[in-house]
Symmetry: C2
Subunit: 177 residues, 2 copies
């Protein structure tokens, strides 16, 4: 079971341009057992509704929150928790994973396009999932998988109305209405 | 060093709707040491040019190929290699990773929207990176990370004109022109 609380901060969301990439980011956070996401940039109530509808059907307690002032989110988090910024310019994840305190709530910060310099200064760790141009969705996935040591894939989602029963060659879904 | 050749087949690309998600998929494949990608759906020469320009600057030998007939790609691959379809309906990756032959070239199949039933029948393995609604980009990332056992993040990209030097708090890029 995963006890560690991890939230994801998605920076600079743009309603039109980022709608799918941000949705992928949120789905990844939820599927890989983050407790919720906070996003800044443009507010997107359609996105919030879509993720909430998915949580209602597929279960688990996953929260989405909008915050205009991302800097304040990071500064407040630093007072009690730990902040990890995923960036191709940072230190390889293998070299810093053990240094992240596991007894504190963790905020994982992912950008979209250009990330403000302040983020590099404010974050406790700037972590690279490889130093190549990359996808923040992929980086988030690998980071959570490493942080939770693969346990996140076996988690049960409480209160689900829909569940998949794993199959070798077909789709099997159970509904409880 | 990674010896295993892995290619990614991206199904049903739609130029407008998928341009960013497919680009994320290709970047993920490249950054995590796949040898190349094949895509079907709509041909997208702009996407091909953008990934080629990135490969020219950042190095490595990464190939992009369009194939209209994805079914033939899978059938041909099955004659000598192994095909792994990533799907939330499949068997958990932890239960099937060891069964994938490591001495054969591997084709990792990822869909966008609804994946045709035939794919489930044709693939050697239908593999779930968790059975929750997900991002194919995230699933691909975790699958490659597990398959290559984390070695893919330490790979050198030959012939690069641009390289990142990992830093704790800033961006450092070296150019060789």
């Amino acid at each position: 079971m995963i006890k560690q609380k991890v939230y994801v901060l998605r920076l600079s969301h743009r309603v039109e341009r980022d709608k799918r990439a941000t949705m992928h980011t949120f789905l990844t956070a939820r599927a890989l057992s983050a407790s919720g996401v906070i996003y800044s940039g443009q507010r997107d109530s359609d996105l919030e509704k879509r993720i909430q509808a998915l949580v209602d059907r597929w279960g688990g307690a996953f929260k989405v929150r909008y915050e205009r002032n991302w800097k304040r989110v990071i500064e407040n988090w630093n007072k009690k928790g730990v902040t990890c910024h995923l960036t191709m310019y940072g230190i390889n994840v293998d070299e810093c994973l053990d240094k992240i305190p596991k007894n504190k709530e963790t905020l994982v910060i992912v950008g979209s396009q250009k990330v403000p310099k302040d983020v590099f200064q404010l974050a406790d760790f700037n972590i690279a999932i490889g130093n190549q141009p990359h996808s923040e969705i992929a980086a988030l996935a690998i980071f959570l998988d490493r942080l939770f040591q693969g346990k996140e894939l076996k988690r049960k989602f409480g209160g689900a109305k829909i569940k998949v029963t794993p199959q070798e060659r077909e789709k099997k879904i159970n509904f409880s209405l």
